[in-house]
Symmetry: C2
Subunit: 360 residues, 2 copies
């Protein structure tokens, strides 16, 4: 496979996303071309550890003296306590302003290591090496980093664009099936919100996607990153409604994740069900024809993803969580809704009755 490179244009914070296959050690040269640093701190978790040896070797070969922070896997690592341990690791090196933080893993590792990089010495360089589909197409691109607070996911965070994103689709070969399917929910999302042609391509490529055909994976990852990059370029810090488009399905999804205690569903599973709720809500508001929802249901079903809330979750509690969403202002219900296939808009004051109706 040829290596493909995509540029995220953000002025002095611009960076490249490279997509390659079975070339993980080359992340060292990728980093060296963008950094004069002498040291690196590689952050990874126990699930990803076998892959991280290649990254470590690549960084070594490129002349980075590399320290290694191995964390247990899981969302619990996105804590202030773990961030404190990584600050200690950097201070012990000691890190300077050119020291590179290298996040090798899924969204948890990227968010955590990214937050530490954003706040150490007021910001040091960050290299993202995502190893899950979700991290490749979503969390490693766009600069959102953060940790959790007992009262809210990602409640403590920053915007910190990486030095670069190095994607090796070879790392997906060992990704558990459920994690892989979860990542596909975000891929479907890009089609619905921004690109009807891409949505059609996904409909036509279900088999090769589920077979993890490298060329198909390369194509869907590149296009997903490109669509996200074009949004982030227009609204890096989510100051307008543009970046909010990426939250399609996410207001419902966060309520589902809260209802399930963040362990019942993976993030992508919650997003899948959330998108269908949002799409039904758009139907109720007269924005789209049912056929647009039906096509999303068919595609998400084909990917083995959920399309509705669990019936045991009390609707009252879901509504309350949505009113308290980090993105809500003044407790109003605010949703990104499709207006056509490939188009969404933000609706700021949706009646509660409509939201209830699609949950019931």
């Amino acid at each position: 496979m040829n290596e493909s490179t995509l540029r995220v244009n953000l002025g002095e914070r611009s960076y490249d996303i490279v997509v390659t296959e079975n070339a993980l050690h080359q992340c060292g040269a990728f980093a060296r071309a963008r950094s004069a640093g002498k040291r690196a701190l590689m952050v990874t978790d126990t699930n990803v550890n076998p892959l991280s040896a290649f990254v470590h070797a690549g960084l070594d070969a490129a002349g980075f003296r590399t320290a290694f922070a191995l964390r247990p896997a899981g969302e619990a690592q996105k804590s202030l306590a773990t961030a404190a341990e990584l600050y200690d690791a950097l201070a012990d090196m000691p890190a300077d302003r050119n020291t590179l933080v290298v996040a090798v893993g899924g969204g948890v590792i990227g968010d955590l290591a990214g937050f530490v990089a954003a706040t150490y010495a007021r910001g040091i360089p960050l290299l993202m090496v995502p190893t899950t589909l979700l991290a490749m197409v979503d969390s490693s691109v766009g600069g959102k980093v953060g940790i959790n607070h007992p009262k809210g996911k990602n409640l403590i965070g920053a915007f910190h664009q990486p030095l670069g994103v190095f994607i090796d689709i070879g790392t997906l070969a060992t990704l558990p099936d459920r994690e892989f399917r979860s990542g596909l929910a975000e891929v479907v999302k890009y089609g619905v919100i921004l690109d009807a042609g891409f949505f059609e391509y996904l409909e036509q490529s279900v088999e090769s996607i589920l077979d993890r055909d490298p060329e198909t994976l390369r194509r869907i990852i590149l296009r997903s990153c490109e669509l996200k990059a074009r949004i982030v370029e227009q609204d890096e810090r989510e100051l307008t409604d543009v970046r909010a488009k990426l939250n399609y399905g996410h207001t419902f999804a966060h309520a589902f994740e809260t209802a399930g205690g963040y362990s019942y569903w993976l993030h992508g599973e919650a997003v899948a069900a959330g998108m269908i709720c949002a799409s039904r809500l758009a139907e109720r508001r007269g924005l789209i024809a049912p056929e647009i929802t039906d096509r999303q249901i068919a595609l998400l079903n084909a990917f083995g993803l959920p399309i509705a809330a669990e019936k045991t979750w009390p609707v009252d509690a879901l509504i309350l969580t949505m009113r308290r969403d980090k993105k809500s202002v003044g407790g109003k219900l605010r949703f990104v809704l499709p207006t056509a296939l490939g188009e969404v808009a933000l609706f700021g004051d949706v009646p509660e009755a409509d939201a209830r109706a699609v949950l019931d």
Copy 2:
């Protein structure tokens, strides 16, 4: 006294600095003109607590429901543990993206509350109400916020520009003499690095400054903020050498603060002695005539500030600390040195022998 306003031009992050007298409650209207938020979290310390009642009343009158975080006074508050308590306070309100963090106090409160505002929900609005001279002329302007790590002061931090800075010089009436004199060191610094005419004004105004004459204070605070603002506008995130000019005297000062365990000298005292070391270093390098150092010594003496390191501090340890400075890269000695009165430049590779000579 007329209210004076100064604008810091940073595109969408631009803000006003207002200087007023005995009008602390007006900070509420100042905040309301810049924020549609419904809630505020006021952060202050036990020293400042008597003044904070006026701020609280002003915020109330302007329609902010205000929670109150009262911390003990002192540098120890710039910790991750205290930041965690402030995150809890915000989450308990609960804060949303329009909730205002109001820092009422000196540099410690501004840096701490600013860091929390920078990282809560990826950044919420921050109003600075500095109550020490040092905070008025330095730490509350320019967006540097942070907390300490056992291995380094301000090692965990961010850039987060405030919504505005509300300075009431009436708050200086009760500032202890030593704290007031410490703040004057940074005022002198602006003259040396950027404005010979301002330096001359300070030489001619020693008596009225030490008498805390309101009109003189207003003038020196406004000019200091203006000089800092013009630097920050050119190099907001210290990516070039421009913002580094503000570090005149600070490489030595940090070594002195470390030698004294951060308790022997106040920050401004360390900066005063550090400026004289840097000025002598500039003499040794043939950059300036001795008269320029002599004038700084005379002015700092008049303000009762130290002009040399304590003789008990081992020079080897001071040099080692300077090599490890957060701003040093690759362990080289790097100094901001005067090239004339009102002009400085950054020198990247000063021989250790010269640095030793000015310390001996």
